[in-house]
Structure formats: C-alpha cells, structure tokens
C-alpha cells in the first residue's frame, strides 16, 4: 500500500515537473523598437557574420548573436527550424527578438563567405510560417512582419527587375536600330530614290521620339532604384517571362537588311513603348526553397 502510494506520488511529481519543463517560456519583455535594435546590431554585425563563417555553424553563430544582443540589454531566443525530409537547407537556426513596435521577429546574419556590397544587408529578416517557404529579406527593407506582405513585396521587386531587364533590352534594340539608320543613310547617298530618303527621314524623326521616350523611362527608373535592396536580383530561381520581352521585334535587323517600312516600325514601336509594368508577369520557374514544417523558439 505504502509502496504504491510512493509510486503514485513520484509519478505525479514527474508529471508536474515535465509539464513545467514542456510549457513554453513566455517571451522576454520588449525593450527596444525595431529600428533602434537594427542600428545597434549594425555596429557588431561584422563580428556575428565572422562567427557564422569561421565556425561553419548556424547554431554557434546564433548563440554568439544572442550573447551580443544580451550585452546591449535585449534578451532574444534561438529558433530551431525544421524542414521536410529531415534536411533543413542552409538555415537551421535563427534568432527571435521581442520588439516594442513589431512584437516577435526573426533575424539571421549571412556568413562572411557570402559576397554582399552593402554590409548592412547581412542582417536578414526571416519570415517563418509553418507550411510556407522560408522568406529572407534584408532587415532594413522588411517593413512588415506579415508573410503576405513579403510575398507581395517579392512580386513587386521581380516585376521591377523584369522592367529593368526589359529597358536594357529595349536600349540595345534602339542602338541597333540607330546603327541601321546610319547605315541606310550612307547607302542612300549612292543608291536610294527620293521616296526612300523621304521615308527614311520620317523614320529618323520617329526614332528620335522613341529615344526621348526611352530616356524619360530611364530617368523615372533612377528614382525607383533606391526603394529596393541591391543585389537582391542575383537569382536563378526567377526568370524573365519571355512573353514580356518578346514584343521587341527590331532586334533581327541586320545590316544591310532591308529597312522596315514606317508602318511596320510604328506598329512595332507602339507595342514596345506602350508596354508598362502591368504587361510583365513574374514567372517562378523552380520551387527550390523548402517548406518550414516547424520551428521552436527557446527563449
């Protein structure tokens, strides 16, 4: 009787202890705003980045990162990320911090082996949602914690990328067209009829209009560039939608190929110049990123 009582008592104690141990610890009180914290982290981001790189371990990097956060009076937690098939990709651990204005956020730092022009962009905001792919964005560009905001931002950024690419190709095409026109002028001195010369003059005037239009687009683009992180477009998972670029028809012109008629050129150019951002679709060609099946925060 006494023996069974002791067994029950021990069992109860074990259950209570395990319950205490298993219950998630509450997040530490928020003491800094998001932007204050970023400014502080930027002062030691090189050390953290080096720790990730030298020890070749996300875990040791995260522990070091947490120590540095504690030194500045912020108590963070380590986050253990798990993915499917038992493999976790190149992001096993990150840091959780409770901020005054943004609540709990996740951060990581890119190791020094990764080449980045702007050192501040090493600090990455991690978008962690169970069942979704891991999202990364330089912390200073992460305006919201919301995963759907992140997705929309990516759509915007890649549409912008497509637009930049398109403008680049359009510029090349205009260069080629300019060379064709010059060549036509030289040829016309010897062989062209007056009607050909008249037609060419119309085309040249039109060409100048397109150049002006193009230059205006480039000027507008310069104003947009600062809104997006540098080097974020170094991606192979995304590609330009071929339908976005395909309407440039003047690229096949070779010298001394016949010059297109004004009608042809006008219709071609109107299709080009009238294209706007909405005409470009972002096409994701691969699904390489892994889905987060779970993550645990250890405060």
């Amino acid at each position: 009787m006494r023996k069974s009582f002791v067994c029950v008592l021990v069992g109860l104690i074990l259950v209570v202890l395990s319950a205490i141990g298993c219950s998630p610890k509450p997040a530490p009180d928020a003491v800094v705003t998001y932007n204050e914290m970023l400014l502080n982290i930027y002062s030691f981001i090189g050390d953290v980045s080096s720790e990730f790189y030298v020890n070749e371990s996300d875990r040791s990097g995260v522990i070091y990162f947490l120590d540095r956060l504690r030194e500045m009076g912020v108590n963070g937690g380590g986050v253990d990320i798990s993915g499917k098939m038992g493999a976790r990709g190149n992001l096993d651990y990150c840091v959780a911090v409770n901020t005054v204005d943004r609540k709990i956020i996740f951060l990581t730092v890119l190791p020094q082996s990764i080449e980045i022009e702007d050192e501040e962009q090493r600090l990455q905001f991690v978008y962690l949602v169970k069942g979704e792919k891991i999202g990364l964005l330089p912390a200073k560009f992460a305006m919201s914690n919301d995963y759907s905001w992140y997705n929309n931002y990516l759509d915007e950024i890649y549409a912008f990328y497509d637009y930049c690419k398109y403008l680049g190709e359009l510029g090349d095409a205009l260069d080629r067209l300019g060379k064709s026109i010059d060549n036509f002028r030289i040829m016309s001195i010897f062989s062209a009829s007056q009607s050909d010369i008249n037609r060419a003059n119309v085309v040249v005037a039109k060409y100048n209009e397109y150049i002006e239009s193009y230059n205006r687009q480039i000027d507008d683009l310069q104003g947009e560039l600062d809104k997006y992180p540098e080097n974020i477009f170094y991606v192979e998972e995304y590609t330009i939608n071929p339908y976005g670029v395909a309407p440039i028809p003047i690229s096949p012109i070779t010298i001394p190929a016949p010059f297109p008629t004004v009608d042809q050129l006008e219709s071609q150019m109107s299709r080009i110049v009238n294209l706007n951002r909405g005409d470009f679709k972002v096409e994701r060609v691969t699904e390489k990123n892994f889905v987060v099946s779970g993550f645990k925060i250890r405060w």
Binding site: A87, E236, N289
Partner: protein, 190 residues
Amino acid sequence: MFLIPGELIAILTFPGVVLHEFAHQVGCMLAKTKVEKVCYFRLKNPCGYVIHEQPIYISRSVIITLLPIVFGYGTTIILAICARGILWSTPFGYSPGLVFYFLIWLAFSAAMHALSSDEDIDSLWRMLAGHRQVVQVGGRFYEVSFSSPIVYRIVLFPLGGIIKLINALRPFWADAIVSFFIIAPIVGWI
C-alpha cells in the same frame, strides 16, 4: 582489353549504387542540406543520383561528398568479416554455401561504388580552390567564395586526385582491383 558496358556492371552490382546514393542522402541530412530529389537506381548514366542544395559551408560539402566512401568501404569491410566468419566455420573441403557468396557479392558491390564520382570531386575542388559558387539561404540565392582551411586542402586535394585516378582507370578494372584488394585480405584469400 575486356570491356563491359557500365550499365551492365551497375546492374550486376546494383546494391552498391543504392548504398552510394543512400550515403549521399544521409550526408545531406547530417549536413542539414535539403535534398531535392533522390534516384537510388536506374538503367541510365548515371545509374543513381542525389540532387541537393549547394551547402553554405565547406565542411558540409565534404561530408556529403565523402560519406559514400565511408559507407561503401565500411560496409565492404563488415560484410567481408562476416564472410570470413562463415568461411572459417566451414569444414575444410566443403563449400561455404550460398550465404557466403551472397555476402561477397554484396561486399564487392559496395566497394565497386564506394568512390565519389568525378563530378563530386570537381565540385569539392572548386570550393577548396575558392571558386565562386551560388548558394541558397532561405529563399534567396547568393554568390559565395569559400576560403577553406589549409588542412582541408592538404588532405582533400591529394585524396581527390587518387579518386579521380581510379575513376579514370575504370576501363582497366581499377575499381574492381581495388575492391578485390580490400576484400581478399580480410576473407583470407591472400
């Protein structure tokens, strides 16, 4: 020279191919590197493959590249020891039985496919040499140039060279000869 198509050798020694790819997969799991796709065996060249992310750290790449050697030759040695046990317990003049030959076949298969492929070695060498690679972190791709510890370079460049040499001599049965010289002393044939 007696040449046999690689596909035929792969069919005859398919457990080794499966073990090799499984070792790569385990390596990916140990190195916390996401496996995109695994093919344990097929009747094409290559006979098996594991597609995985490019690891962000050299040590992880080393694990993924070299684990098939550890698994392959480790399995070979264990199976050869088992076969030796059977052989020694067989009275003189009697056949050791089917189990013995089955173990020898498994051991030989594992040894034949233990070595890393030239592509794996080239990839590792590129990392060691500090060539730029594209890696994925989370959902993003980045360009990385690795700076490897000197110990890695001292050990892995020559080791990779030996592996590539054996691979180059496969038409002359180098892999089979190496396998034989691993199994035979253990079993007691030489």
